[in-house]
Symmetry: C2
Subunit: 760 residues, 2 copies
Amino acid sequence: MVNAGAMSGSGNLMDFLDEPFPDVGTYEDFHTIDWLREKSRDTDRHRKITSKSKESIWEFIKSLLDAWSGWVVMLLIGLLAGTLAGVIDLAVDWMTDLKEGVCLSAFWYSHEQCCWTSNETTFEDRDKCPLWQKWSELLVNQSEGASAYILNYLMYILWALLFAFLAVSLVRVFAPYACGSGIPEIKTILSGFIIRGYLGKWTLLIKTVTLVLVVSSGLSLGKEGPLVHVACCCGNFFSSLFSKYSKNEGKRREVLSAAAAAGVSVAFGAPIGGVLFSLEEVSYYFPLKTLWRSFFAALVAAFTLRSINPFGNSRLVLFYVEYHTPWYMAELFPFILLGVFGGLWGTLFIRCNIAWCRRRKTTKLGKYPVLEVIVVTAITAISAYPNPYTRQSTSELISELFNDCGALESSQLCDYINDPNMTRPVDDIPDRPAGVGVYTAMWQLALALIFKIVITIFTFGMKIPSGLFIPSMAVGAMAGRMVGIGVEQLAYHHHDWIVFRNWCRPGADCVTPGLYAMVGAAACLGGVTRMTVSLVVIMFELTGGLEYIVPLMAAAVTSKWVADAFGKEGIYEAHIHLNGYPFLDVKDEFTHRTLATDVMRPRRGEPPLSVLTQDSMTVEDVETLIKETDYNGFPVVVSRDSERLIGFAQRRELILAIKNARQRQEGIVSNSIMYFTEEPPELPANSPHPLKLRRVLNLSPFTVTDHTPMETVVDIFRKLGLRQCLVTRSGRLLGIITKKDVLRHMAQMANQDPESIMFN
Amino acid sequence: MVNAGAMSGSGNLMDFLDEPFPDVGTYEDFHTIDWLREKSRDTDRHRKITSKSKESIWEFIKSLLDAWSGWVVMLLIGLLAGTLAGVIDLAVDWMTDLKEGVCLSAFWYSHEQCCWTSNETTFEDRDKCPLWQKWSELLVNQSEGASAYILNYLMYILWALLFAFLAVSLVRVFAPYACGSGIPEIKTILSGFIIRGYLGKWTLLIKTVTLVLVVSSGLSLGKEGPLVHVACCCGNFFSSLFSKYSKNEGKRREVLSAAAAAGVSVAFGAPIGGVLFSLEEVSYYFPLKTLWRSFFAALVAAFTLRSINPFGNSRLVLFYVEYHTPWYMAELFPFILLGVFGGLWGTLFIRCNIAWCRRRKTTKLGKYPVLEVIVVTAITAISAYPNPYTRQSTSELISELFNDCGALESSQLCDYINDPNMTRPVDDIPDRPAGVGVYTAMWQLALALIFKIVITIFTFGMKIPSGLFIPSMAVGAMAGRMVGIGVEQLAYHHHDWIVFRNWCRPGADCVTPGLYAMVGAAACLGGVTRMTVSLVVIMFELTGGLEYIVPLMAAAVTSKWVADAFGKEGIYEAHIHLNGYPFLDVKDEFTHRTLATDVMRPRRGEPPLSVLTQDSMTVEDVETLIKETDYNGFPVVVSRDSERLIGFAQRRELILAIKNARQRQEGIVSNSIMYFTEEPPELPANSPHPLKLRRVLNLSPFTVTDHTPMETVVDIFRKLGLRQCLVTRSGRLLGIITKKDVLRHMAQMANQDPESIMFN
């Protein structure tokens, strides 16, 4: 009984889903998807395959392949994302060194590869080898002196300008969507918005190439955010190969969520952190099945990258560290201070960057993107070269700052005065007084910090691929290392102070400045992005020890609290708002007391809602209505008097159905009556043939009453991923609320301009 | 304009929420909560506090305290859960040893503590010291010989029986809810069901005490699952201290989710794994804010436990390991085999255990819980004593099986034949031929494996606290270690075979049998619980290295696939179904083609729906209706003819409102007209005073049309946490679907007995 009813009920639906007309079920550009509809389409598809699979062995194999295609897509994404990350790392390594000089034995070798392959070098001289020639040596045969310095300086600037120019030109000509970090747009796409081409093959190719160029050019940006975009492009590419994903925008988004996890996994060598990042920061709809698949994709990507081994240290990132000394309770105070710094820097950065980006959007500045990039690159290169901490690549800088000073460390930061009487095992060096090198390094770091803080504000948002993770981490790491050295010297020189007396006796290794750098990096990253758990997990995977979770967490929490006190938006949400993307944030709580009746259209005084009646309008009436309005669909009511709702018809499907009927069905003319009921209405004998349209009618439109609090309506839109919702009172249709209305209302309540939201 | 409308709209709601009658807003036992309503009540509360906070400094401080109370609750939960876990560990340690003997210097010392405090012991004799006396030594002054063995055997059995008897009696008399692992019930509670007393203070106390008793009695059960229950009891206790949580069942569940994470965190020393376990396995509604707070609670709990340091190894669990050798691709084959074993064991266990528990429920067996526990304990103790691998506690067994054989290892499992010519550093011992001890151990392990497999089926589900993690891990670890030793010996004796030639030359340390034990443990745990990501993360936190994620994941995936092929339900879902808990699983996909009309009440042929009319029923009519039916609420319609829906009135609130009106309002008699409209209906002059009930009317009841696919309805119930939903067609009320109807329909579709579902 039950099943018979069900079959007849959904029979009509199935006729229609067998795609009598082409293009049904696709969405137009800049439209939002209807998650419920996508889900029910996927269930129908799945049911069809399951019932077919009992018919023959071939169909059974096909159903198995279909069931496994999700895992295959994940495997492919992992492999490609890992490979691309490895290639990018290797290329960046070579091109960054190209700014300094060239390898004589093979020009495609980086400095390190060049010197390692040469036999003449010893460990001490590993940075100097005859095969590697600086530009001054190669061009004018001088390696020292002022003219050589100036020549190297010029070559450095020239290469940087060349790389940046190439990058911005490629982006402008071939793939305008390749610019930026991509994370705000990916968040919007994952929430159900359609931006055609944003994850296309051209974007993938151009973003990969230009990412190498801009990172090598020495601009203050990172490759981590764009790598997430690149991984999502891979995900989109592979999902287009399987009809299960290519024909269903909802399922496609599950793949993209997993791809984002794979992207972070290779960017930071943190598979678990990647999955949590996708869950916490990027994804909108994240069922448990996707959690497991994301984890698989993230692991495959990490293993692919490890087998490429771009850094030659069997690690996935340049700045992997392992500390061996514990931390002490008293150190929590400087850690929390670093958290405050991170929160302040995050707020400052977001405010200034958004102000500058708004200026770019609204003034003439936005019309000269190439010039802007050239100018910023020139300023960056000119200011960066004289300071060793800005000249080297930012990842190398972070790596140096994170590292603990071992016995073999040659860095200036490790220039401590050794006690000649002491002989100790290598990995347990006590706190020592700082030497001249450390003091010089402190000054240079302070200058580098100010420079980074300023230049990053202008860099992020230009028309080139640019990530924010690395510059934020660098700012935090520099501040942290300076604080760390300060605390270390304080503890060494004043070990009789109460705060130090208990844990820092002379000759003990009590303060690890590298740990302060890492805590600072976490704090700044947290201040800018407002990531929490995923941030701590990423950092935990970088250090490989539960030991330091408490310092990291203390800094991350402080930084989030401080930054949230000045404004709830992270940088990605701020850019989403700036660009007016229609993003319904799950994290925002809607706490206003408005009701559905305040938001629905038509408003008081507006003309009544455009509706269809179930059996009294002619084809021509409907065509006129479609022509005169641009609504995405029309509610269907019993009659204009009773206004009792029976369903909802999509504009797109109405147009297709009428076109189809006019072409193929006989007797359909402009004054044919259209009916949505089961049976045709009783018509006079000589009237034209009526047109049955029940199959384009959605018989289960979503309704709320006019008294429903908007809080509940927003919740429904978020959780069910609706596109529109009809408003009724006592069974009568009153109006309609679309996702756009909800977003506009939320913007209005938050005192923002509701008209800024981009939507069709 | 907008705000004015909103204020007047929710004004009525606020009157009512100011609690004119007591008990409004609470739920009865074995009822399900309405998540949407809880959420909107919390928003109202929050709004009130925010608006009040501007009035005075005191109110502002109160609002700050309110905002911070969430973090305070988390801190308290972490502290208490960590402390309880530490106390349980210490008590279990002492009482397990009490079965063997007693310490002369202080009877509350465990064997290890007793011998460590004694000065006479050397490292080799650390297990034998004069202060520690076995029962035979103490009672008859004999330490060797048959009679001493028999005496010790008897004492072992006696103590076990005493502990088990005490435990089952305490549970029966004081807290019947303290039995079992508690996870199925916690899942059900978190999904919105009310079971009063399940998380009460008595349950907390008795479960903690009896948990120590049953684990010490040597039964085949673990403390991990019950620890989650204990942590949730802590969560419930602390949330009752803050009105924000105690008065809102929805918010309370957020705290409980975090408490579950803290429980796993201390059970396995895995804070991140705990959070993921709560997210993947236990929680129903897990907003991002809860993710972050759970992480905090889990960390605090882990740190509290670490500072108690119950195992004296600065680790949170007894079986923490660190391996140093890598694994090889060829080893994936035995790992996958272990996965298959885990899946098969999972299926077998679930089937047999459920069959046995059903038998207990339906036959006379269930009437003698104490006898059952005594019998199973006696069988366990009698069979366990002769075999060293079952005599020791299960955690110690797992620890021994996970451990790699170092140079100082005295275990029988490490009795390899050493090459006397070879001197090697301690931590890099090559593969060696197995000695006699290893072969003996293999036999004993095989017997122990069979014993564990059988006895666990009968143990889990008895009326005592019993966890399943440790026995499952032990089964897997035993199987894994045996496979590992097998592969190791094969590789040693046949290192010229193709599969070994590439990676296992003589003298190399290629196979780590401990790793096989860990992989086997993960596979069996996965087969039983169907955990995926959280399982791998917990194992990853136990080993502390990304290196072994691939073996663990391969085994976990295989085990899940194999087990899922025989049945989708994990052990917790199976027990939920067995007990008929009303749990709407998020993971189950509902793919049948039924429609709302097939599920709603009234069915065809049943009497029409009991409804109230908006302005034509008398108080007496309504009282009769309430008396004659037991529905939780009644839809309110314009009139019986039009059947146009205007709202929904809760039974409980109607009763309270009528009672209140009869007591306090003048002129309300049995034939007063009740009206739900804004204005009273026009009545004849001499008719009694009408009763206005608009404030108990929910003006925004949830509706769907009769044509809505059940797939969508199930989705709505799950995602919005509804309690009931009204069904309409063309604006006319047709029927109602409650959560119980949905659950019954799902059970029916899955060919289960729909009447088994417990619900009021």
